[in-house]
Symmetry: C2
Subunit: 354 residues, 2 copies
């Protein structure tokens, strides 16, 4: 069930029936490009020989633990190959997310046998949250598709990007898509600028939901899902449960940028070289022969998506919406979602700080 | 109401009627000794010119914020005096406490206008929680009196230190006092060893509840308080609400070491020089003319102390104990507590890493 299921699974429930392979595990080419480009000599030049890693948008685990361990393993391997006779540096790992993240749960579920010193860092990654040049290898998994805010023009009746009767850019006008794209590009640029926290030569690895350049988002399962949310809400407004204005004022703050747009922002920004870039299928085991249980699917997507809705609608409206989605909308489109394009809807990037 | 009130107020409720001045604020001699000994040249030699501070046993604020800011102010002043023409380094502040600490509350109450990058570090400070030589100036306020565990001999019927019918060393046998002292000394030694996290020349500032060397703890208000808990519990066991064994199996895991014992551990440990040491009155405004409301006092002490009891007794027993304390025990001893010795029951130490 595409990127969204992967995201759900990754962030909330690795033990669920829909499993995903965390972080770098799935892609050996990707792994190799990190390994090749890693300059451990420059990383270990810090006076105390500590290698500092960070995860931007870590949530509460456990995927942040497995993907960071996977990064540490790469660093260690490279270090051993370059300095076979030197003692291994110590590792410090920083877990970053919004201050509203549940760091208590994160801290209490840290792997007891971890080989690193752990710290939590609250704050928006669109701004600075670390001292300059204090990080060596950082990652951000399934976090950079979140917009810092919904573009104002989407809710401005006088704007050509007014997103009336819609809640996302899937199936919306070109102006709406442009407003989303520009907000996301500015957010990524801010993210990259703030990452002067990474030492020159340090690595930044990003995995996020994506789409091939030029493909409309409505061809993806998530696009169909968002349209189902949309029509559920509109139907509820027709029944008088919510007002039309309430629906018009709501837009999902997520943008699954295609690699071309990501690369363009990085190049314009100028602080990083792109060492690897690509699109993958995040759930290759979901072939035409494997079917996902619809109820299970809704349970999976509800956890990470619910918060977007409850910020805007009362809880009972959100309950009703998910109920209607399951009973009335999804049954009509679920086959279509399962058949939707899913081959290259996750992008990965390996960047190196200049 | 002495160290305990100060602790309570410091850790939980600065807005309460019993105010306390956080950290270094109260003692200018203390402040000066930190300022004098601070070697900012060695601190700012890190490759990225960041100065790293930490608070060991930070709780949830707000006192950790004011006392750390006070430390940062000293570092800045010293830096400006030594390098008037150089840009100020960046500051990174680490808040450490047990993984059970409420870091969510801490993170959400961080000062919005803070001049530092904040991070939370979960883990026991009796062991390593940071990389080697990664910290420059650290503090621990009202945390080093907590024992890592209650000495086993206190609950061993065959030991001369069996603490039958008692819950603390106040008014107990010399063997009990010795068991507490040795446990605490070993804990402090472990704490100091783990602080190889501090760079050579870095500073460690400790404030903790204390007592003049040689004075029995029963002469302090806290000693009287602990004995009141004790007799309340014993009375409850006589009424059959709890068993005598339950009381015998319980001991408060706190030890207010006198400065002589602290200094002896530091000297034997050998990793730090003592640059300043002293005893103060933590609440000089509590003169004979100022009276504390008893109900208010119980409310204040309950918050930080309750956890020790609820780990051992069911909640309803703890409720009953605090109720009995307020109704039956404290009225008989509260005058005595207010008159008890309170002049030098807080110790401070400024240590410099060799």
């Amino acid at each position: 069930m595409e990127a969204l299921v992967r995201e759900t699974v990754l962030k909330n429930d690795v033990e669920g029936p829909i499993r995903a392979i965390g972080g770098l595990g799935a892609n050996s080419y990707f792994k190799n490009s990190v390994y090749q480009k890693l300059d451990v000599k420059s990383l270990s030049s810090a006076s105390n020989r500590t290698i500092c890693l960070a995860d931007f948008g870590c949530a509460v685990g456990p995927n942040t633990f497995t993907s960071l361990q996977s990064l540490i393993d790469i660093v260690k391997k490279k270090y051993l190959s370059q300095f076979p006779n030197e003692p291994m540096p110590e590792f410090q790992v920083f877990f970053n997310d919004q201050p509203s993240n549940d760091f208590n749960t994160l801290f209490r579920s840290l792997p007891p046998d971890r080989e690193y010193f752990a710290a939590g860092v609250p704050g928006s990654f669109h701004g600075r949250v670390f001292p300059k040049s204090s990080l060596h290898v950082v990652q951000s998994n399934y976090a950079l598709h979140w917009l810092s805010k919904v573009p104002e023009s989407l809710v401005d009746k006088n704007s050509p990007a007014w997103n009336k009767g819609k809640i996302h850019y899937a199936g919306a006008s070109d102006e709406v898509l442009k407003a989303y794209r520009e907000r996301w590009a500015e957010d990524l640029n801010n993210f990259l600028n703030a990452r002067e926290e990474i030492v020159p030569g340090g690595m930044l690895i990003v995995i996020m939901p994506s789409i091939p350049d030029g493909m409309p988002y409505s061809e993806l399962a998530n696009g169909i899902l968002y349209s189902s949310f949309e029509s559920t809400l509109l139907h509820m407004s027709k029944r008088g449960i919510i007002s039309e204005d309430q629906v018009d004022a709501f837009n999902l703050p997520i943008y699954a940028a295609p690699p071309g747009e990501f690369a363009a922002v990085v190049e314009k920004n100028g602080c990083f070289d792109i060492e690897a870039i690509g699109l993958t299928n995040p759930a290759p085991w979901l072939t035409d022969d494997v079917h996902v249980d619809m109820k299970e699917y809704v349970r999976h997507i509800r956890a990470p998506m619910e918060g977007m809705f409850t910020k805007h609608f009362p809880n009972e409206i959100v309950d009703e919406m998910f109920e209607q989605l399951l009973v009335n909308k999804l049954p009509k489109v679920f086959d279509k979602m399962e058949r939707a394009y899913k081959d290259k809807i996750q992008s990965y990037y390996v960047l190196q700080r200049k």
